[in-house]
Amino acid sequence: MSSEKLLTLKTRDGEEFVLEEAMAFRSLTIKNATSNYTINNTPLPINVEINTMIKVIEYWKKHSERGISEDELMNFDKKFFKLLHNSELFDLVVAVDYLADKGLSNAACEQVLDKITGKTPQEIRDIFNINNDCTPTSLGG
């Protein structure tokens, strides 16, 4: 029987959910927040929306599995990120930056890096949805 301590969290858009403390502590932000005060069952608010949090938890769950091999993890990561739209990826990057989980943060940033490496300026503008404010003369060296 699992005797893991459970934590209740509340997202920015008002959704409450429960997570094992050990897993939640992958986020330094959550870990520090809980050590600062004792929670008497009031949910800990976090500045992340539920849809993004679901993805974070999916990642954490897989990476906490016992006996999983490096190869299996790599395959999971590949599929995990492949299924994200650009906007979902960016939301994830912002969320993980806030949650302060180095491992997932590095993985997510690498994905963004992959998307922009080798792309032309116009392709980069499309990915980030930026307006082209550069005139030919302003592009000097």
Binding site: C109, L113, T117, F128, N132
Partner: protein, 429 residues
């Protein structure tokens, strides 16, 4: 504007906050970052920001990836070619990427084009053609270069020729400097030193008290730089007169304060001070911001580099004493192309000559081929470098790409009239 403020207040894109965008850009290679300059004005400002540039370079330096710039002649076209090689130590085994051929400033064709040095992604080249000598500062990663102006300093001592050049970075001034040792043509012992700084784009003469003397260099390696710059201090091997005797010294010149010092060579275990004039192998290096001296002597065989093996000494913090690091055992048949020495690896070349005969057994010609290897000194193993397309002789230099701009520089594709920058008599270099 304070860089962190800049990060928070600038809207690079609507999806990601500024500081995350910057964190991502800090890991991008220079080529990709250069493209970001054309994405939008905020990105352009960021990439040109000196603070961002030095942060980015600091990150590049921390990775265990060594870049190597190799210059030589293309084996077929005989054009001067520069290749960039990257070896990464973060993978389970060293991975050498196939050499990348770089766009070289104004189509160098001179036989004696030399890499003087490299620092923070800038490379200094010395170009010699039949009209004279020119010095160029080049950033290969952003394709910019700048010819260095002629020195207006005229010697009161007579006609001057250049003995040696060094290039380096001065961390105290955040500036790049070229140091030049000039010999008076008519005298064996009169020398002058000049220093060029990139920020002022000008030369100044270093006050000389006449003590700075000869540069010692093995005569069969005229392309090897004799001056090395480490943290704003230029070093070269010279000869000083002490008590009416000539003794070899390592000269150090702090380029801002102009303080000149003579450092005695290393002392061998038996207590004898090495006489650098007896060297068969003699070379100075900047290894991780320390001065390294490579030395061997073998009076029986006049042979080159690896065939003798050599000792490696590092100058201590006190700038007076040396620590012996290790000995490289001799290996037959290889030529050490010094200039690259990173993490116990050196670039070595092997020249193979094959005599080609026709069907009657008559000698037709000799086919030459040059193989390049990365030789691990501590393990004694070789890793071949494929597809470099170069032929001996080469020069190699440790190099790490950066965005550092070349002040007043232009794009490598631009035609520049070199005649304004040519100086000195090329015959005597």
């Amino acid at each position: 504007m304070n860089p962190d403020q800049f990060a928070q207040e600038t809207m690079f894109c609507s999806f990601l906050p500024g500081d995350i965008v910057i964190d991502i850009l800090l890991i991008l290679p220079v080529k990709s970052l250069s493209r970001f300059k054309s994405v939008s004005k905020p990105f352009c400002s960021l990439i040109k920001n000196p603070n961002f540039i030095s942060k980015h370079f600091a990150k590049t330096s921390k990775e265990k990836t060594y870049h190597l710039l190799i210059m030589g002649r293309h084996h077929k076209t005989l054009d001067v070619t520069v290749c960039l090689l990257i070896t990464s130590l973060t993978k389970p085994r060293d991975v050498i990427t196939p050499p990348l051929h770089l766009d070289v400033p104004f189509g160098l064709t001179s036989e004696k084009t030399r890499i003087v040095g490299s620092a923070n992604g800038l490379v200094c080249l010395n170009l010699i053609n039949h009209n004279g000598v020119a010095i160029v500062i080049w950033n290969p990663a952003i394709n910019m270069f700048k010819p260095v102006p002629k020195s207006p300093n005229v010697s009161t001592l007579g006609k001057l020729t250049v003995t040696d050049l060094g290039f380096g970075y001065h961390p105290g001034n955040d500036d790049y400097m070229i140091v030049r040792l000039l010999k008076v043509a008519t005298s064996r012992r009169k020398y002058e030193v000049e220093v060029y700084t990139l920020s002022t784009n000008s030369w100044r003469k270093i006050a000389s008290d006449g003590r700075v003397l000869l540069v010692i260099r093995p005569f069969w390696r005229p392309m090897a730089p004799g001056m090395i710059v480490v943290k704003g201090v230029a070093y070269w091997v010279g000869v000083e007169v002490r008590n009416e005797e000539m003794c070899s010294v390592v000269v150090s010149l702090e380029m801002t304060s102009e303080e000149l010092n003579f450092i005695l060579p290393p002392i061998e275990p038996q207590g004898i001070v090495i006489d650098l004039r007896e060297a068969i192998t003699l070379r100075l290096f900047n290894l991780d911001e320390s001065l390294v001296l490579i030395y061997s002597t073998n009076l029986e065989k006049v042979d080159i580099w690896m065939n003798n093996g050599f000792d490696i000494w590092v100058l201590n913090e006190d700038e007076r004493t040396w620590t012996w690091r290790f000995k490289v055992e001799p290996i037959q048949g290889f030529l050490l192309e010094a200039g690259f020495w990173e993490n116990s690896k050196a670039l070595v070349a092997e020249e193979r000559k094959e005599m080609c005969y026709d069907e009657n057994g008559e000698y037709v010609y000799t086919k030459g081929e040059t193989n390049l290897f990365l030789y691990d000194v501590s393990k004694g193993d070789f890793e071949i470098i494929e597809n470099h397309e170069l032929r001996a002789p080469f020069q190699a230099y440790s190099y790490l790409e950066s965005l550092v701009p070349v002040n007043g520089g232009v794009d490598v594709a631009k035609e520049v009239d070199l005649s304004k920058f040519l100086d000195f008599d090329p015959l005597l270099f």
